[in-house]
Symmetry: C2
Subunit: 335 residues, 2 copies
């Protein structure tokens, strides 16, 4: 298996990306194709004594930054490490593509270059997030601000397959993010999506309230991209504010600092538990070949775990499974 | 000033409601009219030696429970403590109405019985919530699942007046909840609402991301009721999960339990800081007279602080200020 990796995406590129890939080739028994400035990749590898065994390089001089708009991947940045990686994937020169770069550009690039699975109305950004115990997949969390009911149904079907095949959850519970648990809750979009999800070959458990998401409401949370994005970011914001407040308590007095020293290790574990970056990233669900987003702040270890998930994404035959399930859905309107 | 209070709303009614009211009459120099089963109110007051000085009672045999649907306030529960209270307010027998009961019923009742301020398209449920330092008002947090852009503008105007007059924030910063901070972010609703809010006599600071809400993004966060409800409930959910995880850490070992005992007081303070119930409640913004919702779990102390806010709501002349500002808004479409 060969995974194409954007060597210049994310805050710690290219060093941590190259390092993570080099470790992954051995541990996961995969080949890697790095995209990016070849000279620079070779220089960084040499300087840090990283072996490029089982790693090839596809030269791509440009880099998409966080300041670029998503559309630039098709225009001024068509020679970027991300665009070249997606083109190599589309040309079947690899089995999957991984990037820690600009999420918006990756969604646009996946749609325009790799294309969607036949019948899939929109690709969705679907991070795996922590909850009280374990994780859940939030789909869509920002790729599609305005959604139609059929899109929400497809999100539920796609995420259900991914969570089962890649994350190993049997018969995952799929819930619709809503303002209450009763069937009739929500607006027009939720009413129509509820009916469609109920009529789908998934374990749809109905509406779930935002309050219950961090507990154990569902394994897959379906939302339009606007709502999903608010959930994703508020989740992070509240957790950060609380960790900050706890830190302040620990610095408040000598007594408190002593207490802190006793439990520091466990508290760091808590921080890690509530950090969605720890889960390695988010697939771009619905793309015709596996495209995976690692978090922008990824270091070598996170890149390696993202590569492990990307490998499972390929081996689980997720794209084909989605294609079959989408074909089998009845009543989808033609676009 | 006379404030009408629903003696049978909330988990701790009627005892804690009566107790809170009795204390408030003295501390806040107000008169109270309690609505509810008169015999029962007198019995509970006598049994607990609570003076009913400055408190009158309007007999209302029924109670709206959390299981009743919002519409029942106009039908089978039109003789409930909540419905009678709202009718007394509409008939000018008091200056404001306070209830710790069913929020949905209170929104419907305020709209149908007290009516809206002239020109106000919808009343909004607007809780005051904690952030890293201080608070913000979230409007709408669930009264209107489907919103039009003009409604979001009115929400911003109404909350801005309340936060300035009642909470004492000068020139409050009003932000629009969105998926990014750039002006063009969001869907159709946000685009149109952004333009209207920008053209309003408030301190509109533009779009804010959900991640920044718990920090210090704005004093007023404007959202449609669906998004606002998700924000409200997820806020609570994430905070609860984190507090639960911290508790678990403290029970993990003897060493940790010792650490916990050292900082327990400060941690309880943190829990209180992140608990939106502590802020006393939520006005029903846009009602033609002040209607205020105290949290369902309110005890006497919270009822007293809610009465303090309700008094400020009346004294700040908020309803008249809103009426004037709504009249002055240009370009509002007629319904």
């Amino acid at each position: 298996m060969k995974i194409i990796v954007d060597a210049f995406g994310g805050d710690n590129a290219p060093l941590e990306i190259i390092k993570g890939c080099a470790e992954a080739t051995k541990e996961l028994d995969i080949d890697i194709m790095l995209t990016g400035d070849e000279q620079e990749i070779r220089r960084v590898a040499k300087e840090n004594e990283i072996s490029l065994d089982r790693i090839t390089i596809a030269d791509a001089p440009d880099v998409i930054t966080m300041e670029d708009s998503a559309g630039d991947i098709m225009k001024s940045k068509s020679n970027s490490s991300m665009a070249v990686g997606l083109k190599k994937l589309a040309a079947d020169e690899g089995d999957a593509f991984l990037s820690a770069g600009n999420s918006g550009a990756l969604v646009v690039g996946a749609t325009m270059i790799v294309k969607r699975i036949k019948g899939v109305k929109r690709v969705a950004f679907a991070p795996v997030m922590p909850k009280d115990k374990g994780f859940f997949m939030l789909i869509d969390s920002g790729a599609n601000v305005d959604c139609k009911p059929e899109m929400l149904r497809q999100f539920g079907v796609m995420a259900s397959i991914y969570v089962e095949k890649v994350m190993g959850v049997k018969n995952p519970r799929v819930g619709l993010a809503n303002v209450g648990v009763e069937d009739h809750k929500g607006g027009e979009l939720q009413h129509a999506a509820f009916a469609l999800l109920k009529d789908s070959p998934i374990n749809f458990i109905g509406n779930i309230e935002a309050r219950d998401i961090p507990f154990d409401a569902a394994d897959v949370v379906v939302a339009d991209g606007f709502t999903g994005n608010c959930i994703l970011k508020l989740y992070e914001g509240v957790a950060m504010v609380m960790m900050g407040k706890i830190k302040k308590i620990f610095k408040k007095s000598v007594k408190n600092t002593i207490a802190a020293s006793l439990i520091m290790k466990d508290l760091k574990g808590l921080k890690k538990e509530m950090d969605y970056n720890e889960y390695g990233g988010a697939p771009i669900m619905g793309a015709a070949k596996p495209v995976f987003k690692a978090h922008g702040s990824s270091k070598a270890k996170t890149i390696k775990s993202a590569l492990r998930l990307t490998k499972a994404y390929v081996e689980g035959n997720v794209v084909q499974e989605i294609a079959d399930s989408i074909q089998a859905l009845k009543g989808d309107s033609e676009e």
